[in-house]
Symmetry: C2
Subunit: 383 residues, 2 copies
């Protein structure tokens, strides 16, 4: 595999962009990435998106965006893996450049979610679950996560308030990220008083959806002269049964375990070496499970890292340093690209108040469905 | 790029499979390909599909199928490029294996189209067009193709009956393909008497939709000992503006021109060397335009190849040798995989009555939208 480096990044604020179309938000992130890379053209475009056929009546959005951003004639394609679409698109771009067939690739994660009524979006999101066995029962995504969280609390003896640090940390970090959806401090008191969504998940356990777009340009590593230079040290994808009831253990993200294990091997590192970890905290329970499956905590002990104050930017394993899904927001098909972009920002040292001191190695982990598709990417500062 | 070869193929008959679910039809093709390859596992799964979110309320169908066919834990992802999704998934599989990161990949094209009312499917198919500029005008896909065909007839002086040979040839070949949707001989008389759909496109100019699934397994070429051995000689993807009105010349498939040109260069061949060409005859006008843009005919002269009887299996350039989209059927996201599979069948010499004598080099060309995304693959018999 040819070594690949990052040349440019671009993002827009995750928000309710009612004044902008799908085209416009994706185009903006793509242009910013090209500007950051100092490029006017890239050879191929990989778009990560989940909902455009249902929410915007638009398929073929690889070509749709290639057209819009002036990449006429160039290769373009859409990649979908539910909420894991962003990282899946990044991985596709990576494979194309690593193979030697493509010399520069733009990976774009984009999602327009606020043009439809909330119930329509909830129904559209539910297509990430198993239509025959889960959707058929009327279970929503928050419902599935609530079942997992309740069992986890019962099994390992945690109380609801023990999950508060995930929410508090994410919101505290988002205060310093202009691209974050929510700029609102969360305290333990607020957390415990927040409205219930699906017991035991309340509003501050759950990430907000939103319109968002983030883009990353990659090229062969030897072509990047700019400093700081960030290279892709590892990329791995793994899956589990799509329906939760088919999994051996619904409280263990085996696809996170497998993809992180493979990524560590590829990069020749361990979890201990990681300076920053952008994980997929769609719900606070997922933050705990991701930390456990990826080797940062023992089974059932993921919440302890929060309680022991080890997840903030100067902690043992900083997570959600730009706000995470919880506060930066979760524009589903774009989320994975935001995570990768945020790791790059940390390695470049661009995170100001939430900068992890001397960050040299970072990991982004993106989840599709309730743990069905999980992609892990490791990025490294190369000097 | 690492050289890649085909190890197994599998397909089901394109039909109205009302007794089978999305899961079942895709699984069947995948199992047949694994059986043909003599493999029980593959490392990664790439699913080409367009309509599952809208027709089956199912997203994340990479993992959905990995789960169903027993590829638990393995990488899986969905690729979408409208009707070009099949070949786009094949290309993604190819990039992964060519990069050296993946050792075996299953590319699966699958589409379930007959579980919804025809008007819903027509609306879902229209999402391949530009939602803001084309869909908004109420134009359907057959409408767009009718506009192009009418202009072509006016511009180059052809009559409607001049397109008959495309339909007659496709239907004649499909009679010998058990996997074809339509087994019905078409004559010039039938062609001219067929019901009008959107002037000048009548029913026998248009391909039928259907439920379908086709799968191809690829591995590094050096690992294939079986004879006949088919290798991937070239893969290229190019795009054009998504909306027809934005194209420089709506009668020239510039993305077919570019992707075939690039493929010829990669394979070190010319159009003249091609023994068989599975083109994307969604409408008869597209057969003519594909032949022209890919170097088999001069501008405006694609229909002449049919009129001069050069497109049948022993003609100068055999097309649609297993029935093409017209008679094998057009299960949109699966079509590109059927085309690649059919070229492989020709190179393996498995086509009986429609076998192209001594076929050693074949090309498959898959179109997304009305010419917006076009992928060209060249396969070669290696002895």
């Amino acid at each position: 595999m040819r070594k690949v480096a990052v040349l440019g990044i671009g993002q827009i604020k995750v928000d309710e962009h009612w004044d902008k179309s799908l085209r416009e938000i994706g185009g903006e992130a793509a242009f910013l990435a090209m500007q950051d890379a100092g490029m006017e053209k890239v050879e191929a475009l990989y778009v990560g998106n989940m909902l455009s056929p249902m929410v915007s009546a638009q398929n073929q959005i690889g070509t749709f965006f290639g057209d819009w951003i002036g990449l006429w004639k160039q290769e373009a394609v859409k990649i979908e893996a539910a909420c894991g679409s962003g990282a899946a698109a990044f991985r596709s771009a990576l494979m194309a450049v690593a193979s030697g067939d493509v010399e520069s690739a733009l990976a774009l994660g984009v999602e327009k979610m606020t043009d439809k009524a909330g119930r329509d979006v909830t129904a559209a999101l539910a297509t990430a679950a198993d239509a025959d066995y889960e959707l058929e029962q009327g279970v929503s995504f928050v419902g599935i996560n609530a079942l997992i969280m309740r069992r986890y609390m019962h099994e390992f003896g945690w109380k609801h308030e023990d999950f508060a640090p995930f929410s508090i940390n994410a919101h505290a970090n988002a205060l310093h990220n202009p691209y974050a959806r929510l700029h609102e401090k969360v305290t333990m008191e607020k957390f415990e008083k927040s409205s219930m969504v699906a017991t035991p998940i309340n509003l501050l356990d759950a990430s907000p959806v939103g319109d968002g777009a983030a883009a990353v340009i990659i090229v062969p590593a030897e072509k990047v002269l700019r400093q700081p230079k960030v290279v892709v040290a590892a990329s791995a994808s793994a899956t589990d049964a799509i329906a939760v009831h088919s999994r051996r253990d619904p409280m263990f993200l085996s696809a996170a375990y497998l993809s992180s294990k493979r990524a560590y091997e590829m990069a020749g590192v361990t979890a201990n070496d990681m300076d920053v970890f952008e994980l997929h905290d769609a719900f606070s329970i997922m933050a705990a499970l991701s930390l456990e499956a990826s080797g940062f905590a023992e089974r059932g002990q993921g919440v302890r890292l929060g309680l022991e104050n080890q997840i903030h930017p100067q902690g043992k394993i900083p997570i959600c340093t730009r706000g995470g899904l919880k506060a930066r927001g979760h524009p589903v098909g774009a989320t994975g690209m935001y995570q990768i972009l945020e790791v790059i920002q940390q390695l470049r040292g661009e995170c100001a108040q939430t900068q992890v001191d001397g960050a040299q190695l970072g990991m982004a982990q993106n989840i599709g469905g309730s743990g069905a598709t999980i992609l892990t990417h490791i990025l490294k500062l190369e000097v």
